[in-house]
């Protein structure tokens, strides 16, 4: 089966079959959108919450939550999905350095909040979620079924 790897800041899409995978989600948040009718599924690997047009002119749309969600939706629509049928699953947003009291504390949490907000704006329901905590995650999205499997070091894998 075709497996596509989605690196930091990227967005990828598949239709009917295959797996979209992102490895090494720390504070990043993986977001999947799925239309079960047309079996269109897309994944973004979101790095930070809000785009910084003054500092990051050529950023990939998938890099920031505020640009990633609209870009994901557009891509899904182009492949035949309908916005009102899309459902989202999200994973990541961890805080890997729990003893650090400084700015990094909030990166994961900010990402989770921003992704949720931008999904709520376009009324896309979140049907699966595995976020926060202190551990990294791997996310695999099976296009045929819409199932997302989360694995982490020393933990049982789980379906969301």
């Amino acid at each position: 089966m075709k497996e596509l790897f989605v690196n930091m800041g990227q967005i990828s899409i598949l239709k009917d079959t295959g797996i979209l995978t992102t490895i090494g989600l720390g504070s990043c948040v993986g977001v999947t959108l799925y239309d079960s009718r047309t079996k269109v599924g897309a994944m973004a690997h979101v790095f930070l919450a809000a785009s910084r047009k003054n500092r990051d002119l050529n950023a990939l749309p998938g890099k920031y939550a505020d640009t990633a969600i609209p870009a994901l939706i557009e891509l899904c629509k182009k492949r035949g999905a309908r916005t009102e049928r899309l459902v989202a699953k999200i994973a990541g947003g961890a805080h890997l350095f729990p003893n650090l009291p400084t700015t990094t504390l909030s990166v994961g949490q900010q990402n989770i909040t921003a992704v949720k907000e931008h999904l709520a704006l376009v009324k896309i329901p979140i049907t699966g979620i595995d976020v926060a905590g202190n551990h990294g995650r791997k996310m695999r999205f099976y296009i045929e079924t819409g199932i997302v499997v989360i694995t982490a070091i020393g933990k049982e894998s789980k379906e969301i």
């Binding site: 930091m8 090494g24 720390g26 890099k63 350095f97 400084t102 990294g136």
Partner: protein
Amino acid sequence: MDAKLDFLQELGNIGAGHATTALSHLLNGQRFDLIIPEALMLPFQEVGTFIGGHEQVVAGIYIEMSGDAVGHMAFLLPLESAVNLVNLLTGEERSELDEMGLSALQEVGNIMIASYLNALSDLTGLLLMPSVPGVAIDMAGAVWQSILAGAQVADTITLIKAQFSTNSIAIEGNIIFLPNEDDFQKIARILGLEDF
């Protein structure tokens, strides 16, 4: 561009040299080989996969640098190396890192990074202060990605990587310095170099 990278590589050479010397002192004179540090400019798309072995378990120590210049430093090593390092330091035989082991590792990382920054401070006269070190044991990709997010990297990332290893015991690792773009212009000027 080459001049900038040469300059950064030299900073890396000095910093990492001091860091491995500090490590050697901690470990009763155990010798470490420093592979010539590399200074690199990478596009965002490449930096995430730059350390490789995404699912390999690593130990990562992370420090934010503040003071007269801002930057981020990371000390990354495979889990097995981290265990060997802690065993050598404590004279005990652990097979994994317990709380004591983690604490020891954090301290080693702290001393190495502080030595790196001290060397740069001595060179430039700038006050460079390390934060409390954060420590994580996890997938390499997740650790590295969290560090990059902490540094809020933009399109192009400049970094200095120094790799060290030792022959007698399997210990190897990387010290990575992510300087803030504006601040190393300041450092360059202090050292009498033209603007890049």
